[in-house]
């Protein structure tokens, strides 16, 4: 019998294959309108193809119900630090699905794709302007791929100078995991740089790592601690002095839009995450797009292709070209075009002043949270933050409740949890990024929830430790998942 409070219709979690009934199907295909051709010999042909057999109503209902198990920006506040979960304008999805864009073939000849090429060309220009780095390739399909590409640009640059190979890539200990991983994939040796007591990169430690093997440094600005590196100019100077290049991880660009010219700051190569700063929807884990922006002298190394404008006979004409010393292709085609269209639309809707307002509001919202929460939750570093604030649940931990528990309890309050346990250098980190698209009232409600949870930590810690209680499923056994991997449906198993 069913419990009073249960929502049984949300709990029919049978998989498609478990719902499969022989003979059912979801769509009818057109009849063959050409003479039937001889099929190839049997041994080349597929025997059984074990796919689900379900009707169209079942498909719609199954996935609609799945969707309702999700949390999303469209449902509520999603303060996941480092992820910039801002509102994704609906109009951008609409324009990206215009047939002239959504159904354009990547091999469509030049005269058939001038609109798309113009869009790419203009977007390159916009992003060059936003970063202050005019060489732009839109090819990378996410931030991490852009990092790899950027690292390869640095590698190609050094090679082009014919020096002995430089193998060291410096990476702060607060860096996102993709940075060291990308550096390694790019063939470099990763050398860590610690942060100082203020959360800044330890300049002295840096100085100790400079030298002839230095290829470059990967810096995130603001850092993953949500802090603007005050010594950034000096840092760049030092690295350049040693012959290295400075890579900027632009994942946190939401703090700097229209506020700082990254080129002027001394960055040589920077990637942007359009799925963060430029509001393209995250899709539950992609698609994203990670344009790579470089200073003039490095443009020849950019990943292929890039869009170019040429003066054709009278009219201007656009085309894709391979930069002269390109590090090569990153994917079969021209990047995640559908994502690029959305970012283009976003920039066109906001313009320069609008983008500048974005970063101002993002920073203000974060500092508002900081100011209102710092009495209850320890700050990782007690100073003004940029677009996100890193809290520590150290104080709560002393009362027996971990940051993880607080994060889970927030789900009961209807909020998504902050990013947990990152950056790695902050004990019990809770990294909160509100973004500019949230109202003050929402921030106030979030603050109230965190305050209430802090109360609960004192009054009823078990309530918090066993959270969440109101979500479609309870706390999940991740250890078991990793120990006994069950990664796909198999017949006869449930």
């Amino acid at each position: 019998m069913i419990q009073r409070k249960e929502r049984p219709h949300l709990l029919d979690r049978r998989l498609l294959m478990d719902r499969s009934v022989p003979g059912r199907r979801g769509v009818r295909l057109p009849p063959l309108d050409v003479p039937e051709q001889r099929l190839p010999p049997e041994e080349l042909l597929r025997g059984d193809l074990d796919l689900p057999e379900v009707s169209q109503p079942e498909v719609v209902r199954y996935f609609t119900r799945l969707s309702q198990l999700n949390y999303s920006v469209d449902t509520n506040f999603y303060p996941l630090g480092s992820c910039t979960m801002k509102y994704n304008p609906k109009v951008n999805d609409e324009v990206a699905s215009l047939a002239g864009l959504a159904w354009l073939h990547p091999h469509a000849p030049g005269p058939c794709s001038q609109g798309a090429l113009k869009l790419l060309y203009r977007l390159q220009g916009f992003l060059g302007e936003v970063t202050g780095l005019p060489g732009v390739s839109l090819a990378p399909m996410a931030g991490a791929q852009a990092e790899l590409a950027g690292i390869l640009v640095i590698r190609a640059y050094h090679r082009s100078r014919g020096e002995q190979p430089r193998r060291t890539m410096l990476i702060p200990d607060s860096a996102h995991g993709t940075n060291p991983a990308s550096a390694t994939m790019g063939g470099f040796q990763v050398v860590g740089i610690p942060s100082d007591s203020q959360g800044n990169l330890d300049l002295e430690a840096l100085k100790g790592k400079l030298g002839g093997d230095l290829a470059g440094i990967m810096v995130t600005l603001p850092s993953t601690l949500g802090l603007f590196e005050p010594h950034i100019l000096e840092l760049c100077r030092l690295v350049h002095q040693s012959g290295g290049l400075v890579y900027g991880d632009g994942a946190n660009m939401n703090a700097l839009l229209g506020q700082a010219n990254l080129g002027d700051l001394g960055f040589d190569v920077v990637h942007l995450n359009l799925h963060k700063t430029f509001s393209t929807p995250h899709g539950g884990g992609g698609p994203g797009a990670g344009p790579l922006c470089v200073r003039e002298g490095l443009a020849a190394f950019l990943p292929a292709p890039v869009a170019q404008r040429v003066q054709g006979n009278g009219a201007e004409e656009y085309r894709l070209v391979r930069p002269e010393h390109s590090i090569g292709r990153l994917g079969a085609f021209h990047g995640n075009f559908g994502v690029l269209v959305r970012a283009y639309a976003y920039i066109r809707a906001l313009g320069g002043p609008g983008l500048r307002q974005v970063s101002q509001d993002a920073v203000l919202n974060a500092n508002y949270l900081l100011a209102r929460l710092k009495d209850r939750y320890e700050l990782a570093y007690d100073r003004v933050c940029m677009h996100e604030v890193v809290l520590s649940a150290r104080r709560q931990k002393r009362r027996g409740v971990r940051g993880l528990d607080i994060a889970k309890r927030l789900l009961d309050y209807g909020f998504h949890a902050p990013t947990m346990y990152f950056p790695l250098i902050v004990d019990e980190a809770l990294m909160v990024e509100p973004t500019e698209t949230e109202t003050k009232e929402t921030l106030d409600a979030f603050i109230a929830a965190l305050e209430a949870i802090d109360e609960e930590v004192s009054t009823d810690p078990d309530l918090v430790r066993t959270a969440p209680h109101s979500t479609p499923v309870g706390r999940l056994d991740e250890a078991r998942a990793a120990r006994q991997p069950d990664l796909r449906w198999r017949r006869g198993r449930t």
């Binding site: 199907r25 884990g285 500092n367």
Partner: protein, 441 residues
């Protein structure tokens, strides 16, 4: 009336809200919060065009969109890695739901079961389709998947040479080179005809099947070739072909990848697409990418989580199996909805429609004097035509008649033209094409 230029419709807070918040923060202006930014890099406003209202924005994008000739606008015979297939409306209906579209990577599984269960379905479907043991939740695209497969094979075997057939897509080949280069992995082309033994330091043999030219490879021979040298067999395939042809798993592939675009993803000028990535069970822990696993919650109910994360960059950092983080989850959802909707019989039928139409087209084309099919063997929905004059000229002439012709591959095959025919090409389109070819003979 122009006040509307001064606000962002996407940001809610008003000047009054900001004032109240600044007061709570204890500063007089946001400028004060930005004090760490060196003043000399600030100042100049961004030189971007004026902001547009939504109405103007839509108009601008419509103008750009209509300056393209898209693949549903008329007959189209382009393929070569991106395919024009019918996409049922349910795929769009599901994928446009805000709860899927505007969620992040499912870091909080308790409120992300939609994304997670859909990814588990995707992994199941990929395994079923390719007849492989395990699959991840998707990679950037087919080409980068192949590159990651090559790196993985090197990790598995401890070797650093990658061999591939000369029938591999030149685009894929380039991407493999991009990824392999910095790790000092040699990429070597081998000729399938002269099936010499592979060099003993070869980590894997990469085979595309159907290959770039649309034809099936002799996979049993390739399997022997690879495994005889202790190399892994990596097969790149097309998922639509899996409706009709034996899957890589049945040929002993160790890693199988595919570009998933054929399965419900619009052409979109080349992306976003999705790479399908599967391998044999023993290699699971060397696999790149996100993986979703089934487990139980505190009450013993089934639930899904991201798992085996110790392979990944955010845990393992420089020792990760890959740097991939954000991938193409939404495309994975679309693939899952597409396959659920077509189902077992539907995918077979769709593949057969492609096959019969492509073969019908080939039979007509090769009867036109001057045109021939230079390659032997079995093809699926693409084939190479040797033309009596440069394919570029033919394409131009076709375009003038409203037909998008095949890909000019004369740099690979003399006067070579790669023609693709799918279920969206009607008999009439095929016959119209052939008529024009005859005129151009």
């Amino acid at each position: 009336m122009d006040s509307s230029r001064t606000f962002s419709p996407y940001s809610p807070n008003t000047p009054e809200d900001r004032r109240a918040m600044l007061e709570a923060v204890g500063v007089g202006s946001v400028e004060e919060l930005l004090g760490d930014i060196p003043s000399r890099v600030r100042g100049a406003p961004l030189a971007l065009p004026e902001p547009l209202s939504e109405q103007e924005l839509v108009q601008e994008l419509e103008v750009l969109a209509s300056a393209n000739r898209h693949a549903l606008e008329g007959p189209c015979f382009l393929g070569a890695g991106a395919y024009r297939h019918f996409i049922p409306a349910v795929v769009r209906a599901v994928a446009s739901r805000g709860e899927f579209l505007t969620a992040y990577t499912p870091y909080q599984p308790e409120v992300s079961q939609g994304t997670l269960q859909a990814a588990y379905e995707f992994q199941t479907l990929v395994c079923q389709l390719l007849a492989m043991d395990v699959a991840n939740a998707g990679m950037y695209d087919g080409a980068s998947s192949l590159a990651e497969a090559a790196l993985m094979a090197c990790r598995v075997t401890g070797r650093s040479r990658v061999a591939h057939l000369n029938t591999l897509s030149p685009f894929h080949r380039e991407v493999v080179a991009t990824y392999a280069g910095p790790q000092e992995i040699d990429v070597q082309e081998v000729d399938p005809a002269g099936a010499l033994p592979l060099r003993p330091d070869t980590a894997c043999l990469l085979v595309q099947h159907p290959n770039f030219f649309g034809y099936l490879e002799d996979l049993p021979a390739m399997e022997r070739l690879a495994h005889a040298s202790g190399a892994l067999l990596v097969v790149a395939t097309d998922p639509m072909a899996m409706g009709l042809f034996r899957p890589p798993g049945e040929y002993g592939a160790d890693i199988a990848i595919a570009e998933g675009q054929s399965l419900g993803i619009p052409l979109s000028f080349g992306g976003p697409y999705i790479g399908l990535f599967a391998c044999r069970a023993p290699y699971l822990r060397q696999m790149p990418g996100r993986i979703v696993g089934r487990t139980v919650d505190a009450r013993g109910e089934t639930g899904y989580v991201l798992t085996l994360q110790t392979r990944e960059q955010h845990i393992r950092r420089e020792r990760a199996t890959s740097n991939i983080c954000t991938s193409q989850a939404l495309m994975g959802l679309m693939v899952a909805v597409y396959l659920a909707t077509l189902g077992k019989a539907g995918l077979r039928e769709a593949a057969e429609l492609c096959y019969h139409k492509a073969h019908y087209a080939a039979s007509l084309v090769q009867r036109v004097p001057g045109y021939s099919l230079p390659l032997q063997g079995t093809f699926f929905r693409e084939f190479v035509v040797q033309c009596p004059r440069p394919p570029a000229e033919i394409n131009q002439a076709l375009l003038e008649r409203g037909i998008l012709g095949g890909l000019d591959i004369s740099h690979l095959v003399p006067q070579g033209w790669l023609l693709c025919v799918t279920e969206l090409n009607s008999r009439r389109e095929i016959e119209d094409l052939v008529r024009v070819l005859r005129e151009l003979a």
